[in-house]
Amino acid sequence: MADLTLPAALRDVEAVRSVRTPARLDYRYTPGTATSRFLHAIEQKRIMGERCPVCRKVYVPPRGACPTDGVPTEEQVELPHTGTVTSFCVVNLQFYGQGMEIPYVSANILLDGSHLPIMHLIQEVQADKVRTGMRVEAVWVPDEEMGPTLESIKWFRPTGEPDVQVDIPGEDHGTGLGSWVGGSPPEDPRAAQTHGGDA
């Protein structure tokens, strides 16, 4: 470092270790036409997925594009309010803004007839009783609280039906997530379940 002669007033002062520069930007977010269709349906207690015209997979919530084929998913598919837990975690930590009593369960839930799990809460069951393959159904908030948001579904709870087999992606081939034997994906939609999948 070059020699620097500071004015007397700046000699032996404490170094600046942090600067606070608060920033705030407001956005008017547009979910897009496909997600808007989904949100409007949710408001009416209906769950609408959208089907890819090429691979026939049903995405929920739809974003407007099939990530496999890069084409718009414009065919509407109404889905039942039941599904299968494909993975879950038990939250034992309290954190700011949580709004839930611990322990609670966050799960990936594959709605019957769809090929993309949604994330939601599992309640009305002890956390240590939740398992992959468990059948669950949506519990909606009271009608007066319904809005264009996934929070209109309060949580999912067990239906009491027998568990179903869930295929973990990659498990069939023992190659781990995202790996396929011979470098090509399996023929069947990977997330298609034995229960309700109709692709």
Partner: protein, 352 residues
Amino acid sequence: MRDVAVISFAQSAHVRSEEDRNEVEMLMPVVGDVLGKVDMTMADIGFTCSGSTDYLAGQAFSFVMTLDGVGPWPPIQESHVEMDGAWALYESWVKIQLGEIDTALVYCYSKSSPGDLPMVMTRQLDPYTAAPLWPDAISLAALQARALLDAGKITVEQMAEVAARSRRSAMDNPNAQLAWDRGVDELLKAPETIAPLRRHDCPPISDGVAAVVLAADGAARDRVERPAWIRGIDHRVESMHLGLRDLTDSVSTRLAGEKAGVAGGDLDVVELHAPFTHQELVLRSALGLDDHKNVNPSGGALAANPMMTAGLVRIGEVADRILAGEAGRGVAHATSGPCLQQNLVCVLEGNG
């Protein structure tokens, strides 16, 4: 060096606000268009590179969601730049030069409308001393214009001439957002908005999408009769501290232009990414094109200025004219950062 060409270009109409569609929904028709023009699908693409910024969308990793529009599953070779698509094109050009792949899809998009763009743009400044002051993008451009006027390098009449010519040219551009036919005298009667800038000196705020297909050697010749070959491409950046720069000159553009070989032949068409009128004058001077007669036939960024996109559009506008046989040799320029901080120059030619 491999011969690499732009073989296809597509863009959306540029609008003030895409009310209904999200970014991926805006992107898909343009990607379909750019591939369809050369009868290609994603299976024919070796590398995909996109340009955008999360600050416009107000969402982290927003480009990952947009990637759905090209069908990235099973996984594709892909990259993203938090910059204009012109730099995504540069990365793709480098990747093709490495010899691993022969084709690339480049796309970029802007949905500026969800936020307050001049304020959003302040976030690209030095975070310790400049950004906390929230100097909006138009005020910074006005500082540059003032420096140019005070130095006697340009006049407000010249600035108005750029505005008049650009918006008149835009009347022939179906994708333009701002097009009109008004004379310099009429323009100069308008009050200054952020002095010395008048409204006509500033670009519109635009939502829009653009995409390009690059191909090397035979892959280009097989697809189109007359590829737009990239004969030179270079980009240079200046300090982020505005006070360290000579705002009345664009040293980075001059150097990039020299490296790209702008002076190596006559130019039929020039597309300069100059969001503000005075910036076209700075760029012309830096590239030795003060008197060129065919600058920004599309209307340039004054006709539509989708962030992260208007630079790639300049390359596409030149390439389209070469692909169509209307031009033999052209120059495209892209800029990024405040007051022409970073500049890319690309020389394109039709003869292979």
